[in-house]
């Protein structure tokens, strides 16, 4: 082989993928790249289990270079930065309804519209003396009363029935049989807990509208005759009706809705400046504390509090991987919301509760890449060694992108971390590893949409969505209408679907495509735009970068690079997807860089 120069492979073991680049190095030092490959990483990054994935990547690259039998002379491995990323999420608020103060769910088919007040009375006691004392009554019917009987009881009653609360899904059925039309809310699962003999107000919004009177404290005050103090107390009730189509408020002392804020706790940052901060005010406070601390050595959280639990969760996860006590070197905290069941609710109400998401970067002592190199050498007979720092290799690789020049910054948008490296004209390299990347985006999507499965959030992150409007066509999130030759399976009917390379994946529940698009974009913005700006600030304090090349798996995303281009355009920086060697796109930068950096 040596007559033709050396056959050299650069190998980059990442958290999720292993990439290889194959080149022939001529005796005069000239390097000619032959092929590249990508395959899933086997085992955790930095462990001997990686060897299987590396062997696959090498076989693939030889095959593609049409020399499957050839023997590789040199293998260069990345010197992985000794960092690991982890994510955690904690709910910050909880809503508690005490003593059935309200009903505020979204039945699909309530009936009637408008507002009504009255005393709550069982539907078969409408003409009792207690009911007669008040001006109007709101009937309460459990599942034993079918729609025909319920309608008959109201039609035959002498009382002024102003509204009806039903356990079964029969509002329209009763409404259609009433002589005098009233507001009806249905599907109230815990109807037995609705108190009787007290004043209540119910409201059903007109089509395409949401509640108006009940989601306003003064509206409730007017309906139920509340004084100033009671009105103040009822404002949490009013707030929890925002966006609902039907609801009921029950007036009774002691009944209320409370939005509790769970103690977020104190966080201690050990850095150039060590400081303790109260994180009750959310993500912004955490990020401000981190910034003022300078270089960070570790972060701890008050035990038993939100922040303490989050930090412990990340650290114990990382300790399991690295077998040592990890230290946190960076945190990306993001305010988010998550749908949660309202405790004490009568009809299975849910509310968006505030939550805090965090990605943490943990420093461990070096990963045993040398051991991997030894093993690889034994298996292939090649001279395998650790070839150089990942960050430097990444910039060298990205420098092969047509159209870039020095000083060049590379933003490596991975799964666990966002890494930045800048190569100055004089050859100096500065780099930074920041917490928060693709995995954090997935977590935010899962949290905000209330998805049970992480894999579904991963699919939403990567692919556009559409609404199936008929058995033969869909409307994509961009408004485009696409037809199918064969009728779609009925399970897709009316569903929001993920468009994965022509395949449809139905989402359960009633999440609209608009909601998904806004959550997905916002999650990407919160993580990648924030981190890109933070990273650039760290590697280039004067922020005068002419070129930024994006690399890594998330640089292949269909909307993250445009978001970053927009963000950097304001700073006069040219930002785009890296295109390693003009053929690999944003992939293979490190593997290519390792080969380029080879000295002998």
């Amino acid at each position: 082989m040596s007559g033709n120069g050396l056959l050299v492979a650069g190998v980059d073991i990442g958290n999720s993928t292993t990439e290889a680049a194959l080149a022939r190095v001529e005796p005069d030092g000239g390097k000619r790249f032959l092929a590249s490959s990508i395959t899933p990483t086997t085992g955790l990054k930095g462990t001997p289990e990686n060897v299987a994935g590396i062997m696959t990547a090498l076989e693939m690259v030889l095959e593609r270079a049409q020399m499957p039998k050839a023997k590789i002379d040199r293998i260069l491995l990345n010197e992985a930065a000794p960092i690991l990323g982890g994510t955690a999420m904690e709910t910050v608020t909880e809503t508690v309804v005490t003593d059935s103060a309200m009903i505020g769910h979204d039945p699909r088919t309530p009936a009637g519209m408008g507002v009504a007040t009255g005393v709550l009375v069982r539907i078969d006691r409408l003409d009792s003396d207690a009911a007669a004392e008040y001006g109007g009554v709101i009937a309460v019917a459990d599942a034993d009363f079918g729609y025909e009987r319920a309608a008959r009881l109201i039609n035959e009653s002498r009382a002024n029935v102003t509204g009806l609360i039903l356990e079964k899904d029969e509002a329209v059925l009763v409404y259609n049989r009433l002589d005098r039309k009233i507001c009806i809310i249905d599907e109230v699962r815990r109807i037995g807990a609705v108190p009787l003999g007290v004043l209540a107000a119910i409201e059903v919004a007109p089509p395409a509208m949401t509640l108006r009177a009940l989601c306003d404290p003064y509206g409730i005050a007017a309906l139920l005759g509340l004084g100033p103090d009671e009105t103040r107390r009822v404002s949490a009730v009013a707030k929890s009706f925002v966006g609902k189509r039907s609801g009921a408020v029950i007036k009774s002392p002691g009944r209320n809705v409370a939005e509790n804020t769970l103690p977020a706790g104190k966080m201690t940052v050990y850095g150039d400046r060590s400081l303790e901060t109260d994180v009750d005010s959310g993500a912004a406070a955490i990020m401000a504390a981190l910034e003022s601390a300078g270089e960070i050595h570790d972060v701890t959280g008050e035990s038993g509090t939100n922040i303490g639990r989050m930090i412990d969760a990340v650290k114990s996860g990382m300790a399991a991987v690295s077998g040592e006590t990890p230290r946190i070197t960076d945190i990306l905290a993001v305010d988010t919301v998550t749908p949660a069941a309202v405790s004490g609710g009568l009809a299975g109400e849910t509310r968006l509760e505030r939550a805090l998401g965090a990605a943490c970067m943990v420093r461990s002592s070096g990963l045993p890449m040398e051991r991997i190199a030894e093993e690889l050498g034994r298996k292939t007979g090649a001279r395998a060694r650790v070839g150089g720092a990942e960050a430097a290799a990444a910039v060298l690789g990205a420098l092969t992108t047509p159209g870039v020049f020095l000083p060049l910054a590379v933003l490596d948008l991975g799964a666990g971390s966002t890494d930045a490296a800048v190569l100055e004209r004089d050859g100096r390299i500065r780099y930074a590893h920041l917490a928060g990347a693709g995995d954090m985006v997935t977590m935010l999507i899962q949290t905000e949409l209330g998805l049970r499965e992480r894999s579904l959030a991963e699919l939403i992150k990567r692919h556009p969505v559409a609404k199936v409007e008929s058995l033969s066509h869909i409307r994509a999130e961009n408004g485009g209408v696409y037809f199918y030759r064969e009728p779609l399976a009925p399970k897709f009917y009316g569903a929001t679907v993920i468009l994965k390379d022509g395949e449809l994946i139905a989402l359960g529940g009633d999440i609209s495509p608009e909601k998904i698009v806004s959550v997905r974009r916002e999650a990407k913005r919160k993580v990648f735009v924030t981190n890109a700006l933070r990273a650039v600030k760290k590697v280039s304090p004067d922020a005068k970068l002419p070129y930024i090349a994006l690399a890594g798996g998330s640089a292949e995303d269909f909307e993250i690079p445009p978001m970053l281009m927009e963000a950097f355009a304001e700073m006069g920086t040219t930002c785009g997807r890296g295109n390693v060697r003009g053929v690999c796109g944003p992939r293979n930068a490190v593997a290519t860089g390792l080969v380029l950096a080879m000295e002998d």
Binding site: E469, P487, P490, A495
Partner: protein, 226 residues
């Protein structure tokens, strides 16, 4: 295992015997049954009694997009009055209609005479329906939700195990049919399956279907059914 096998064979023999008796009886009464006549590829002539006078079509088409038609089989509330597991036909029909109505759509029942096949009853109902969505209901209780632009043997939803159905299920079928008509996502229904159902109801199901098939008249159009 042997005992079960024995039971099964005995059951088959029983069914075959009953079917033979029914067919013989019918052959004597009406001179053969289409599709059941042995040895002859072409259908036997229709029984004179069933098609003596052409019935005027009492169905008037509506173009209301909210209309969901429930098509019932020829024997529904006539020769037969309850489903396989004894649910009264009137209540089954009322529940399906209530389900449609609760969703804000307009239910309407028609009797389909052309066929006793649930898929074709459903397809016929869908074609007559203003919304293009219909429910097919056999007298033995098997139901299907259909759409006019689907092939007869494809459908939106089929509920094949009639003996396991309850009135609540029929309500849900009505609601789902209405949601298909509205273009909304339907509520997934629990798949009912009991491996013993087939064995326990096979004979009764065959007999009921036979009685319904005997009333089918390919030339008689669907009629409004109140």
């Amino acid at each position: 295992m042997d005992i079960e096998k024995h039971d099964y064979e005995q059951l088959i023999a029983e069914i075959a015997g009953i079917l033979r008796d029914v067919l013989n009886e019918r052959a004597q009464n009406a001179g053969g049954m289409p599709g059941f006549s042995e040895g002859s590829a072409s259908p036997a002539p229709r029984p004179a009694a069933a098609s003596s006078k052409p019935t005027p079509a009492k169905f008037s088409r509506s173009s209301d997009p909210r209309e969901v038609i429930i098509g019932v089989g020829p024997a529904f509330l006539a020769e037969l009055t309850a489903t396989l597991n004894g649910l009264p036909h009137a209540e089954v029909l009322r529940e399906i209609a209530a389900g449609v109505e609760e969703e804000g759509m307009i239910p309407r029942a028609v009797k389909v005479y052309k066929t006793s096949d649930v898929a074709f009853i459903g397809k016929e109902a869908a074609e007559l329906s203003g919304s293009g969505v219909g429910v097919g209901l056999q007298s033995k209780g098997t139901a299907v939700i259909h759409r006019k632009d689907l092939y007869p043997l494809t459908n939106l939803e089929l509920f094949p195990q009639a003996p396991l159905m309850t009135l609540a299920h029929y309500r849900q079928i009505g609601q789902n049919a209405a949601r298909y008509a509205k273009g909304e996502r339907v509520k997934p229904m629990k798949v009912l399956n009991d491996p013993m159902t087939r064995a326990s109801y096979q004979v009764k199901a065959a007999l009921m279907h036979n009685r319904e098939t005997a009333l089918a008249d390919t030339r008689r159009p669907a009629e409004d059914f109140a």
